[in-house]
């Protein structure tokens, strides 16, 4: 998704750093080798970035300027939750929902290009006050959840499964908005996706709440989640 932008703007002091939030490096490897990006891809086995930047899902993004300052804090990287309108018989989503998914992504990519080109003059760069206003801050439960999550992932690796599962469950209960915590801990299907019946049930329980929080950016969809 980012390679074309990187190709066009790498000479403009712009770089993409992709972070795989994957406890199992081998699960991430084929995706990286297939895409073979020329920008750096790092593996965040313990979701350290989620703890540092208060992230709750993928894909999320942070825009950081040449001085290491945050000009757009953690936000959904242009994803629209079109999958919520999936028809399980035809395995398709309605055309208009699919169009919104595409336009949402395109709007976000165009904004990044604008920033890569214009830097601080881009309309998408927040003032410090706006950056703070758009920032979700962690609370004590979230801080505790990250600690339990990290311990749970490690104990799972050393096959203390029962203890690990209890910690991962507790982490998710303390930080229910984090889909990363829930999905990393969940059972996966044969295709590697944590998208079994338990996932769909949890998505359905969202009701009118968003799976991907809308991005505050002109041209982004503002409607509620699509219905299946």
């Amino acid at each position: 998704m980012w390679q074309a932008i990187y190709d066009d703007y790498q000479n403009k002091d712009f770089i993409v750093i992709a972070i795989a939030m994957d406890n199992d490096i081998e699960a991430a490897r084929p995706w990286i080798e297939e895409a073979a990006p020329t920008y750096p891809v790092m593996i965040d086995r313990y979701h350290q970035l989620a703890d540092l930047y208060n992230m709750v899902n993928v894909p999320q993004a942070v825009w950081i300027n040449e001085d290491g300052r945050i000009v757009r804090p953690t936000e959904n990287a242009g994803a629209f939750e079109g999958f919520r309108a999936l028809n399980f018989e035809t395995m398709t989503v309605p055309e208009e929902v699919s169009a919104t998914v595409q336009s949402s992504k395109a709007t976000y990519v165009a904004a990044i290009r604008d920033w890569a080109e214009k830097g601080e003059d881009s309309v998408h760069v927040f003032s410090p006050n706006d950056a703070l206003a758009h920032m979700d801050k962690p609370d004590d439960n979230i801080a505790k959840a990250h600690v339990l999550f990290r311990l749970g992932l490690y104990l799972r690796q050393i096959s203390k499964n029962e203890e690990a599962d209890a910690l991962l469950k507790q982490a998710s209960e303390l930080h229910p908005h984090s889909w990363s915590i829930w999905r990393q801990a969940a059972d996966t299907l044969d295709n590697g996706l944590a998208a079994g019946p338990a996932f769909w049930q949890r998505v359905n329980e969202l009701g009118e709440s968003h799976y991907y929080k809308p991005v505050d950016m002109e041209g982004m969809p503002t409607e509620g989640p699509p219905k299946g």
């Binding site: 932008i5 770089i15 993409v16 199992d24 970035l49 894909p59 040449e66 300052r69 801080a143």
Partner: protein, 137 residues
């Protein structure tokens, strides 16, 4: 031995005898698993020091060892350990994380690529950085 899961990965340290829930480290070892150093004035990070409570000294320091877990609890920072007390996570509290973010200075980190080579965010100072997450799941 105890394993402490630090931000740069698991670190093995020798842990002295104690109850489950205590983490008795040799004084120099606190630096291997945290940003905190034992000094005469207490456990310190930069200019900030957490003194040893005078009425409960034995819970915090003993001979040449420090119960890092007691300090962590005293500082209201989140921590967790395995039931057998062999694996530990000493986390950062919400207030510190929030301060890191609201400073708007992007918190630095170092993570490996597929070949195990470490990259830090600060390696890319001087460039606009799009930090973008994804996952296989």
């Amino acid at each position: 031995m105890a394993t402490v899961l630090t931000e740069s990965g698991p670190v093995e340290v020798s842990a002295g005898p104690g109850l489950v829930g205590e983490l008795w480290l040799a004084r120099p070892d606190t630096e291997k698993v945290s940003d905190w150093t034992m000094k005469p004035e207490g456990l310190c990070k930069g200019d900030i020091c957490m003194p040893v409570p005078t009425d409960r000294t034995d819970e915090f320091v003993r001979d040449d060892r420090v119960n890092l877990a007691a300090f962590w609890q005293r500082m209201n920072k989140p921590l967790a350990h395995s039931a057998d007390g062999d694996v530990w996570v000493l986390g950062e509290d919400a207030e510190d994380r929030t301060a890191g973010l609201t400073s708007l200075d992007a918190p630095d980190f170092a993570l490996p690529d597929l070949d195990g080579k470490l990259h830090s965010l600060s390696d890319y100072r001087g460039k606009k950085v799009l930090l973008a997450t994804w996952a296989s799941w």
